[in-house]
Amino acid sequence: MRPSSALSRRLAAAATGLVLTTGLAACAGPQEAGDKAGSAANTDTAPRKGGTLTVLNNEAQSDFDPARLYTSGGGNVPSLVFRTLTTRNREAGAAGTEVVPDLATDTGRPNKDATEWTYTLKDGLKYEDGTPITSADVKYGIERSFAAELSGGAPYLRDWLIGGDTYQGPYKDPKGLASIVTPDPRTIVFKLRKPEGEFPFVATQTQFAPVPKAKDTGAKYEEHPVSSGPYKVVRNENDGERLVLERNEHWDPKTDEERKAYPDRIDVRSGLDEAVINQRLATSAGADSAAVTTDTNLGPAELAQIGSDKALAARVGTGHFGFTNYLAFNPEVKPFDNPKVRQAISYAINRTSVVNAAGGSALAEPATTFLPEKKAFGFEPYDHFPAGKTGDPAKAKQLLKEAGHPDGLKITLLHSTAQNRATSPEIATAVQEALAKAGITVELDGQEPNSFNEKRWSVKDAPGFFLSRWGADWPAGSAFLAPIFDGRQIVADGSNYNHAQLNDPAVNKEIDEISKLTDLKAAASRWGALDKKIGEQALDVPLFHPVYKRLVGKDVKNVVISDWTGVLDISQVAVK
C-alpha cells in the first residue's frame, strides 16, 4: 500500500480542504453528459432491486456522526443513512449541481434580504424505529454540531447563525440556539447574521440531519446513529473499518425522490491498500464484481495499464469535482510582496510538467483560473499571464529584471511529503524544474503532512511560497472565493485559507453584494467576474483541476456522476 495516503479520515478531509470523509468522494461510472459522454458499465439493462453492494475503501468511516462529518452535499455513504433538509440533485453532469428538497418540501423560503430561511418538513417522515421526525430533531442535530466534543463539521453555521459564534452545544447549554425556531413540529426557521443566498447549499450537509434527543449517546452516537435514510447501520466494527448497512423499513420512498436504494445490503470494507482496491475492482472476481469504491481514484500507472483494455476502460467512471491546485503566495514575505516577482513565476510555470506529475492529462486539467471550469461556479475563462503549454521563461526573466533581480532569484517552496499528487514532492519538483529555466532557484521544503498544513494555514508562520489546494464545499462561487479572498476571513489564530492575506475593501464589498442574491445564476456570473478581477493581482498561480477516474465492478449498474461530487453516487447504484 501507499501508507502515506492512508491518513486519517480527518486528515484526508483536512488536506483536501473539503470533505473527503468516505462520505463524499466516490467516482466510477460513465462520463458525465457534458463531457464526451461515456456509457456506464451495463447501463443497457434496467437496474433492479436486491443484492449486496460491496464498497472497497482505503479510509475507515470513523466519524459516522452527522455532527462530525465534513461533507460536500451530505456525503456518499453518510447520505444513505442521514437525510437532510435539502440535498444534491442526484443527476449526472451539470444538473447534479442543483440543490433539491430532501426532508423539506422545498429548498427553503428566504425573507426579503435572505437573512431568514424557513423550511417545512414533508409528511410521513420516520426514523428507523418508526418514530416520526420533527423539526425539533433537526434543530437538535444542528445544535449538537456546535459542541466541541463533536467537532469536525463545516464552519458555516457558526459563522452565519445569530449567536452561533458563542454557542457551546446542547450538552453545556441545553437551552439551545435562539436563532433556530421551531414554531411547530414541521416548521423550522433559521435567523442569520447577514444575507446568505446560498443557505440551501449548506442545508445539504449532514449537520442538517435530524437526531432524536432521546437516542443521543454523545461521543458514542457514531457507533449507531439513528437512520432517517433508506439504510440503517447493522454492523460497525473497528472504528468504522467495517460498516454493514441494511434496509431501513421505515424509510418511505414516496418521501424521497433522490435516493434509489437498489441494493438490499451495503457492505463497506475499509483499511485496504489503494493499489489493491484498484486491482480488485479490475479483476472483479466474486463479490468484487458488485463492488465500488468511494475514496480511491485510479493512479497514472493503473490508467496506463487500462489504456489498451476496452472492457476495462468501459468500467471507468470520470468526474469533475470543484477543485483547484495552486501555488500560493504570501505577499507579506519578501520577495513575494513584489507583484512582478509573482507574475514572473506565473509566466515561468510549465503546466505540462505539472499536469504530468499529477498523473497526466487524463487525471488533471491545466488551470489558469482559480474557479473550476464549470458553469455552476460562474467560470469565466482568463489567462492573465499566459505561460503557454510549457512556460515562458524569457518573459519571466524580463519581469525579474524589472523587479530588480537581474541575476535570478533564490526562493523556497513548501510542500508536503504526502503521496497525494497534489501538494506532494512530484508537483513541487515539476515546479522547481520549470522555474530553474527562468533563473529561479527553488529550494524544496518537504514537510510531514500535519506540519505542512499547520504552516500553510498559519497567518504568523506561513512561508512566502507554497503548494496549496482548495475544494468546493458546494458548487458555487462563494464556497470557492470567499474563504480564499475575503479579508474578514483571515483567521489570525486558527486555520487561515486566505493565504495571500488579501483584505481589499472592494473585494469584500462585492462578496457581500453577491451573497445577497438568491438568484444563483445571477450570482454565478458575478463570481466569475470577481475571480477574473482578483486574478490580475497574481496572488496565486492556478496549476490544475484534478479529474477523478474510478473503476466499478463488472456487475455494477446505474452509475451516476454529478458535477457536484465528481464521483459515483452510491444511492443510485444497482447490482442486479
Partner: protein, 325 residues
C-alpha cells in the same frame, strides 16, 4: 544469562598482517568471490563516476522530458522498454521523462552511501556494546542487554519522523537516514559480538594476555578484535543489503531522501504500481538492488570462509527492523 544467538566456537587469533595476505590468497582461488567483488567494484565506480557518465550520455538526472511521456495515458513513456533509446539508454521515468540510467547511477550513490554508512555505524556501535557487555560484569551486561531490547522495540518510523522534524532543513538527508538506520539496527551485531566475547574471554591466549597485565580494552583490541572480524564481517554482508531495503521502505513511508535526489529506494517506492504498465521502471532498480544483495552475500560468504579456514561460516543473523516488513 545466555546469549540469544548461538555461541560460535572461538576462532584462534591470527597476527593481522599475515592474515590479510592469507585471506587475499584464499579469495583469489574462488571465482564466485572474484566476480562478486568485481561487480561491487563496478557499482561503486559507476556511482562515483555518475556525473562523468551523465555528461557522457548528455543527460541530467533532474531534467524533465515532457515530450517523451504519454500524458493521456498516465505519463507512461512512449516506446518499448520504458522508452529506451540512443539518448536514454535505460528509458525514462514515467510522468517526468527523466533519464533512468543517470538516475539509477545517482541513486546508487545515495543507496550505497546510506547502506555502507548505516552498516558501519551498526557494526561500530555493535562492536563497542557487545565487547563492553561481554567483558563487563553482570550488571553492565544486563543493562546493555536491556538497552538493546529497547532499541529493538523502538519503532523506526517514529524516530525517523521525529528526527526529520528536529534537524535543520540543510541537514543532509542521507546522513539522517544513516543515523536512524544505524542507531536502531545494531542489536544483532552487539549480540554476536557479546556471545563471541564471552566464549573467547576464558580462552588461554586471552587469559594469558590479561595475566600479563594488559588492560581490558587493550586485551579487547589486541586479542579479541581479530577473532571477531570473521563473524562481524559476515554479518555486515547481510546487514548491508538489508539496509538498502530499509532505506526503500522508509522512502515508501515518506521519510526517505528529499526530492529531486534519486535513490534506489525512492525509485522502487514510486515504481510500485507501475510493473504492468512499465515493467522496466520497476525491474531496473529492483535488478540493481538484487545484484547488489547477491554480490554482497557471496562476497561476504567467501570472506568469512577465507578468514576462518576451519570451514563453514558461522553466520549469526539478527533481525530486520519492523519498518521493512
Amino acid at each position: 544469562m545466555t546469549a540469544v544467538t548461538g555461541v560460535p566456537a572461538p576462532v584462534a587469533g591470527t597476527p593481522a598482517t599475515g592474515a590479510a595476505r592469507q585471506v587475499g590468497r584464499r579469495l583469489r582461488t574462488r571465482p564466485a568471490a572474484l566476480v562478486s567483488a568485481a561487480v561491487l567494484l563496478l557499482l561503486i565506480l559507476l556511482a562515483a563516476a555518475a556525473p562523468l557518465l551523465a555528461a557522457l550520455t548528455g543527460q541530467d538526472p533532474y531534467a524533465y522530458h515532457d515530450d517523451l511521456v504519454d500524458s493521456a495515458r498516465g505519463g507512461v513513456p512512449y516506446g518499448a522498454f520504458g522508452g529506451a533509446s540512443a539518448d536514454h539508454w535505460l528509458g525514462v521515468e514515467p510522468g517526468t521523462g527523466r533519464d533512468l540510467f543517470v538516475r539509477l547511477l545517482y541513486g546508487a550513490r545515495v543507496s550505497l552511501l546510506v547502506a555502507v554508512g548505516a552498516t558501519a555505524l551498526q557494526v561500530l556501535i555493535g562492536l563497542f556494546v557487545g565487547l563492553a557487555a561481554g567483558l563487563g560484569n553482570r550488571w553492565v551486561d544486563g543493562l546493555l542487554g536491556r538497552i538493546t531490547d529497547v532499541l529493538v522495540a523502538l519503532p523506526m518510523l517514529v524516530l525517523a519522523i521525529a528526527l526529520t522534524a528536529v534537524v535543520p532543513r540543510g541537514f543532509p538527508r542521507p546522513l539522517l537516514l544513516i543515523l536512524v538506520i544505524g542507531f536502531l539496527g545494531w542489536a544483532g551485531t552487539s549480540r554476536i559480538v557479546r556471545a563471541q566475547t564471552l566464549a573467547l574471554k576464558n580462552l588461554d591466549f586471552v587469559a594469558a594476555a590479561r595475566l600479563s597485565g594488559a588492560g581490558r580494552w587493550r586485551t579487547a583490541r589486541r586479542e579479541l578484535l581479530p577473532s571477531l572480524a570473521a563473524p562481524v564481517l559476515t554479518y555486515a554482508a547481510i546487514l548491508l543489503p538489508a539496509n538498502i531495503v530499509v532505506e526503500a521502505s522508509l522512502s515508501f513511508l515518506g521519510v526517505g531522501v528529499t526530492p529531486p535526489t534519486p535513490s534506489w529506494g525512492q525509485m522502487l517506492s514510486t515504481a510500485q504500481t507501475w510493473f504492468r504498465a512499465d515493467p522496466a521502471y520497476v525491474l531496473l532498480p529492483a535488478g540493481f538492488l538484487f545484484v547488489t544483495v547477491l554480490a554482497f552475500t557471496v562476497l561476504g560468504d567467501a570472506v568469512r570462509t577465507a578468514l576462518d579456514p576451519r570451514e563453514a561460516s558461522r553466520l549469526r543473523v539478527g533481525t530486520a527492523k519492523e519498518t521493512a516488513r
